[in-house]
Amino acid sequence: MALNGANFACAPGEVHALLGANGSGKSTLAKIITGVVAPDAGEIRVDGQTVTVSGPADMYRLGIASVYQELSLIPQLSVAENILLGHEATRACLIDNRAIWAQAARLLEHFSRSLGRSLPIHAVVEELSPAEQQLVEIAKALSRSPRLLILDEATASLHSREVEALFELVRGLKDKGCTVIFISHRMEEVFRLCDRATVLRNGQTVATVDLKTTSPDELLQLMVGETERPERVHKEVSPGRVVLKVEKLRAGRVLREVSFTVRAGEVVGLGGLQGQGQSELLKAVFGAYPLESGLIEIEGRRARIRRPADAIRAGVVLVPGNRAHEGLCLPRSTFENTTLPSLEHRSRCGLLSASRERRAANEVIQRLEVKVADIYQPVSTLSGGNQQKVVIGKWLLNNPKVLLMDDPTKGVDVRTRLELYRVIKELCSRDVGVLINSTDNAELLAVCDRVLVLYEGQIVDELTGDDLNEANLVAAGLRMTASAHNSTRGETTWGE
């Protein structure tokens, strides 16, 4: 359901940006073009000819290659082996390693030259830094001599010099008539590199624009769409004492000295682009992501949280981001999923009373208005929204003090979404502190008292009160400063 009626075309020798907010379907579109994901409907034309694709191998034949966001490298193989994987040079059927090393070195030469240091072609990929791996992934795509190259967030883990080297390379390819599709969350890069841009919103193409005649503001407008004023969820209570205090959390490049507090009855949002460390931050507080250093206090007392069980005991619970993989035991019943984390409170000598369990489950189900025909049926038979209610509901029986939520309304319909907001509000009135990550800005605006904006593992901005609006959120996430909210004379400048 990531895409719904997306159209897209690009010309030879063009650098074409694919833009859109979180979850607008950019990566899915790219994967359909490379054949990794099978589309439900639609067609792909190359040089005007409709082509049928049954997998990635077909796409290489058509001259299409991609740099994947999650990389397509084999960790245990060497750099050279990875770059030429799938089309190794052979001599009398045997792999010609010398030729492969030469080709790999040749493909990496550009980067080596502009970075002033050579990439080790014999090193094992799993021992490389993320940036080096990214360069290998790029060289791997180039090894196919593509007519169309897709760069999906290829700059995400690169440093500025490496980005420059990549840009130089892309311009060289362009001069040779190669088409490049560029997907990036760094707007500044898009403007510097690309000729045209196609904007996606909710899986649909909104517009294709010429970037020379388009201002960043206009582009922003296209990505955000009609600025609908989301209904603010009003709360009666004002935030109380601090329930969660986080100080200087560090975890490599993912979290860099993150500090903040959450008060009782307060809803704090985590904003910014997707994948800037929001999910990891929530998991780290919950004891499910390893930390290098940092301090966590619950209700003023220092908490030693090494595993989720510790966090739960301290009153911190997490609604994880991926309900199928992290939140629910799909083959098990709604009843079991609902009661799972709180069994201890109701068991007598390890034995459970069927009726007491049923009462507990029903209490939650009624409180959250979960629509379920039979609570003993597998939870996988519920709709997405109701499944999400179960993921939240299973914690209610533990009476949490801090509720961490990672994108709780992803793939949830509007009505259920509003119901979930009502639940959050109700929890706030019971003095629960809520920390919520959302890829949907409207949601942050609707429920949050305060939003912390993350960028590459750091809190770069905090928005409250009147500053908390759509334009500021998007701008802060892209490291731009929007001086105008919906005023026509507003101008936009780049952050560092």
């Binding site: 490379t34 990794v36 997998g55 990635p56 191998a57 796409m59 290489y60 001259g63 994947y68 990389l71 397509s72 490298l73 084999i74 960790p75 245990q76 193989l77 060497s78 082996e81 994987l85 799938g86 190794e88 052979t90 059927c93 045997l94 792999i95 390693n97 010398r98 030729a99 090393w101 030469a102 080709q103 070195a105 040749r106 493909l107 080790p120 014999h122 090193a123 094992v124 791997k140 180039l142 090894s143 001599s145 007519r147 060289g172 040779k176 008539g177 190669c178």
Partner: protein
């Protein structure tokens, strides 16, 4: 359209082979199993003064060869991240089929088509491997249980072909197997052939794809590799090696036995793990497995020559094996988390 930037590699382009440090680091597990092998050989020499005598060497190689071959076959499957629990069954089936073919086609004086009978055995191995591969790659059954189940099919078929131990093979065959060629035991030559086949496999595209599929199926798929075909090929080759193992075993014991191959399944996996190949796939090689297989065989000998009381031998051997498995597994975990 655009002729690539890489197709024209200038001949003067400098290509440096991997440095020795890099090679040693990548080959560390192999080196480690070779060191263990050296130690085990040393201990054997101490306990068994005639260890390096021509006859003893010949006898040891011919006894270890079936396991060595099975371990090489198992390695190919394990490299793809799969496993073959039916390898013992295949070896058994090949053993009884070959013995039966010898009885039907050749006769005991050995003036029939000996090679045809041997080819029949190999074919059985390959076919069994293809069936395993089909179940795992195309029917997408869990390898562990699917091959666990086919093992019983192969064992059952073996029992059907030869209900009780017996039969015999032409003198020519077992004499040759126990003989020498150019001063080197024939079993030694067969070991060379085994190593040669592995050398070829590791240097053709398929060999590299075994590693790629085992390293990351999703990445291999996104790179355009036909993952299913690679897995089937791995199982078929494993079947081929199991076939060779079955024939070597037949030549060694000179008869058929419908239960003979059973222990080879665990032993082959143990040899693979001791040889430094990761059970999760993508890392290792048959060289280590060969060393592992020889280590296992020699440890059995050592336990025997160290005068461990007969009834303690299995127990001591089992403990050593499980210890080796644990060490190898722990090493694997540390590597991954590092």
């Amino acid at each position: 359209m655009n002729k690539s930037i890489i197709n024209s590699v200038p001949s003067e382009y400098e290509v440096k082979p991997p440095s020795w440090a890099t090679r040693v680091r990548r080959g560390l597990p192999l080196l480690m199993s070779l060191s263990v092998l050296a130690i085990v050989v040393l201990v054997s020499r101490v306990l068994q003064p005639n260890f390096f005598d021509r006859a003893v060497v010949r006898s040891n190689i011919s006894t270890f060869l079936p396991l060595i071959m099975a371990a090489v076959g198992q390695t190919l499957v394990v490299l793809t991240g799969s496993i073959d629990l039916s390898i013992g069954g295949i070896v058994t089936l090949v053993n009884v089929v070959t013995v039966t073919l010898f009885g039907l086609l050749v006769g005991m004086d050995g003036d029939g088509p000996v090679l045809l009978a041997l080819a029949g055995g190999l074919l059985v191995g390959i076919l069994a491997g293809l069936v395993n591969g089909f179940l795992v790659a195309y029917l997408r059954l869990q390898a562990i249980i699917a091959t666990f189940a086919t093992n019983f099919v192969w064992m059952g078929l073996a029992l059907y072909v030869l209900p009780t131990p017996g039969g015999s093979i032409p003198q020519l065959v077992y004499r040759t197997y126990r003989g020498y060629f150019l001063g080197v035991p024939v079993a030694g030559w067969l070991l060379v052939v085994t190593v040669g086949i592995w050398w070829v496999i590791s240097r053709v595209k398929l060999g590299r794809y075994l590693y790629a599929v085992g390293g990351s199926q999703a990445s291999a798929y996104a790179t355009g590799i036909d993952v299913q075909r690679v897995v089937v090929a791995a199982y078929a080759l494993c079947g081929l090696f199991a076939g060779m193992s079955g024939i070597a075993l037949t030549a060694d014991i000179a008869s058929g036995d419908p239960l003979v191959g059973g222990p080879l399944t665990l032993s082959s996996i143990t040899a693979v793990v001791i040889g430094g190949t990761r059970l999760s796939g993508g890392f290792g090689g048959a060289g280590g497995s060969i060393a592992g297989a020889i280590i296992l065989g020699l440890i059995r000998n050592i336990i025997f020559f160290a005068n461990v009381p007969p009834f303690y031998q299995d127990f001591v051997f089992g403990l050593i094996v499980i210890g080796a498995l644990a060490i190898a597994a722990v090493g694997g975990v540390r590597r991954r988390s590092a």
